[in-house]
Symmetry: C2
Subunit: 170 residues, 2 copies
């Protein structure tokens, strides 16, 4: 279940985010404005803009998977220097490739693992707490915020764009 | 892990939502406007308003837990007839009480379970697919949208209000 909950689902969410950005680009073109306007849009003046939301979704997925595979030290760093949709798409694809280097065999025992971020000054969470209370909520929070910024600016998106296709069986 | 991922985490998220609504009420009071304005706010004309977002978060949690405990038929129905923050708070509390009637011993084997909603016309998902690809994403989607509506309207909220307190250890 942990594999489906993380690598598989994060891959789906990143794929959905990529498709949303394509729709944003098509919308900007159809309305004859520069898509950069959307990349620098936000819902409140002290909120991160769309560009930063996308960068954070990428990092939450990448670092989340690095934590549960105990590979943080060998995980590539992204510099947050994207300036276009194309560069964001490239980063999303990089992260999809990166997290899919791991299979369910690579997942560590989360209950025994400790996650101690530098800014927590010596405190820690178990790996399971970090996943359930930090990684997954952050993943959805920033993805939903990206979606909300686009929706608010008129891009035609529905919940199916957010959820992706369901693997219905008959 | 399933218990932490669902009943425990959904309880935390509902508690955070309740606190956000308290902040919305305090903000409306401080600015001398009716909090109902916030309850009927949305980010796009064809989006559900805040009231409906809160109702949906409640239902996703309640029905999600009913599915994974195989208790859908005995789960109380809410009529979506709230008209005030106080009534929404009461519904949130009801759902917290409802989902905490179950312990980890009540959780069914999700991989063998089938979930077939009426509108899916005979198709189904496994219980695990329903949880990971439908319940959890919907929970966060509507909670984030509620948060975004409030943020956009000036209510002072930060990500800590969304995530809640982390159970740091030393």
């Amino acid at each position: 279940m942990l594999h489906e909950l993380t690598i598989i689902q994060f891959t789906a969410l990143l794929t959905n985010l990529s498709a949303m950005l394509n729709k944003a680009e098509a919308y900007a073109e159809s309305k004859d404005f520069d898509v950069d306007v959307l990349l620098h849009s936000r819902l409140a003046p002290d909120q991160f803009d769309l560009m930063r939301q996308v960068q954070i979704v990428c990092d939450v997925a990448k670092i989340g998977v690095a934590r549960i595979t105990d590979t943080v030290d060998s995980t590539p760093v992204h510099e947050d220097n994207e300036t276009s949709v194309a560069q964001l798409q490239s980063r999303i694809n990089d992260v999809i490739t990166q997290i899919n280097k791991f299979s369910s065999d690579d997942l560590i025992n989360l209950e025994d693992a400790k996650v101690a971020l530098e800014r927590w000054e010596g405190k820690y969470l178990t790996g399971q707490e970090f996943l359930i209370q930090c990684t997954i909520p952050n993943m959805y929070f920033h993805l939903s915020t990206a979606f909300a910024i686009l929706r608010h600016n008129g891009v035609i998106l529905g919940k199916d764009d957010f959820l992706g296709e369901m693997p219905y069986k008959t």
